[in-house]
Symmetry: C2
Subunit: 240 residues, 2 copies
């Protein structure tokens, strides 16, 4: 059950102020699970150089992959690329390959490739570009950190550009069973099941609906036969 | 513009696996902004003792307040209370005041107050209970860490129990202006505006709609007159 580990870093004041409800975390979490990559931690920080640089250092040292979202546009609050360069101690400037991509794009559109737009071609030395089929301005991979845009359509497209290049582990399979009883009634037998199947991750997610209590029990693992066996025991303990 | 600082810690495999889309972060972010408390960082970690304890220590040392969500129910994967006790080096056991609340609740319902349900009365020494008007089982405040349930209805009720007891700063006011031009056209004048008004936080949040580009420009600060002045300059630079 060895899977590569990953963390996500969401960069943006708009999430922390409650202005925007994050959707990139939810999207990435689902795609990584399908790919067999274990998302272990997410951090959300503001558009602050020290906060971004500190989080990049901590996460890139602790996990196999780090995925960032946000802060790579042309405006003054887009400082992610510079923070990545600072975190890895490398030089950053407008790079020829990124500039050429953007120049061709704006030439086709008849739009001026002004100083602000050239900021989007600032790429740290040693990074590899991530293709952006939506709006051209590329993301990049610096060592184990994949730097992507915050706009959901662009973020999602960049995720699809990068995912096929990463080695995943065995995909995690999950089985869900809804039990319409309070968690306090479920907890005893469920705890015994969790002890009997240490290779599975067993979670209980309680809900309340129309004044009644229940829980979705989720069994996760990479071995389908083992999951079926454990699920049969759960069914026996809580007949429908 | 001094506001208390805060962090949130979301505890739960279901967010990291992409099974559940978080809503507690979005809710808390909005309520803290209204209250004049500056949410600076969010972390999401799995139901893992080391990850939870480490994050609690880091965040409670760095911010005025920490709000946690998840992991305080009766099942085997509910380990938050024990992790908080470990993080602060205090004893934890079933506490009389919490047990009495729950005992009365289950007596009224005619439900057995079994061993699993008694787990929800485990409260670290020195903590203060947080009222739960939805389902009784309390949260608690341990030093500067406010420990709440993950079920959104319960989380939201606990937030309303705790917020009035916290001292907020001047509420952050925000003004938003939508500009239907690419960020590359907006960036130059916007950067000058940001330099001219260092007391304001000025963000640009790009969007793409029906194949056209635009951005919502958000000005945030505690001084309404200053915000109006800056917004007038933005309007002058980008007439509707």
């Amino acid at each position: 059950m060895t899977q590569p580990t990953a963390a996500m870093l969401v960069i943006g004041d708009e999430i922390l102020s409650g202005r925007t409800r994050d959707s990139n975390m939810y999207h990435l979490a689902g795609r990584l699970t399908e790919r067999g990559i274990n998302l272990c931690e997410v951090r959300v920080v503001s558009d602050d150089a020290e906060a971004i640089t500190g989080a990049v250092k901590a996460l890139s040292g602790a996990y196999d992959h780090v995925f960032t979202s946000g802060g790579i546009g042309p405006t003054h609050d887009d400082i992610t690329a510079d923070c990545i360069a600072a975190a890895f101690g490398v030089h950053i400037d407008v790079r020829d390959d990124a500039r050429a991509l953007l120049q061709a794009h704006y030439d086709r559109q008849g739009t001026e490739f002004n100083a602000a737009r050239q900021r989007m071609a600032r790429i740290p030395d040693g990074a590899t570009l991530i293709e952006n089929p939506v709006s051209v301005a590329p993301g990049f991979t610096m060592e184990n950190v994949h730097v992507m845009a915050g706009v959901p359509a662009v973020f999602q497209a960049m995720v699809e550009s990068i995912l096929p290049t990463l080695t995943g582990g065995a995909p995690l399979i999950s089985r869900t069973r809804r039990i319409d009883r309070g968690e306090g009634d479920i907890a005893g037998p469920l705890g015994e099941l969790a002890q009997a199947y240490p290779a599975l991750s067993i979670g209980s997610y309680p809900f309340q609906k129309d004044g009644r209590y229940g829980a979705n029990i989720v069994l996760r693992g990479t071995d389908a036969a083992l999951l079926d066996e454990a699920m049969a025991k759960l069914d026996a303990a809580f007949p429908a």
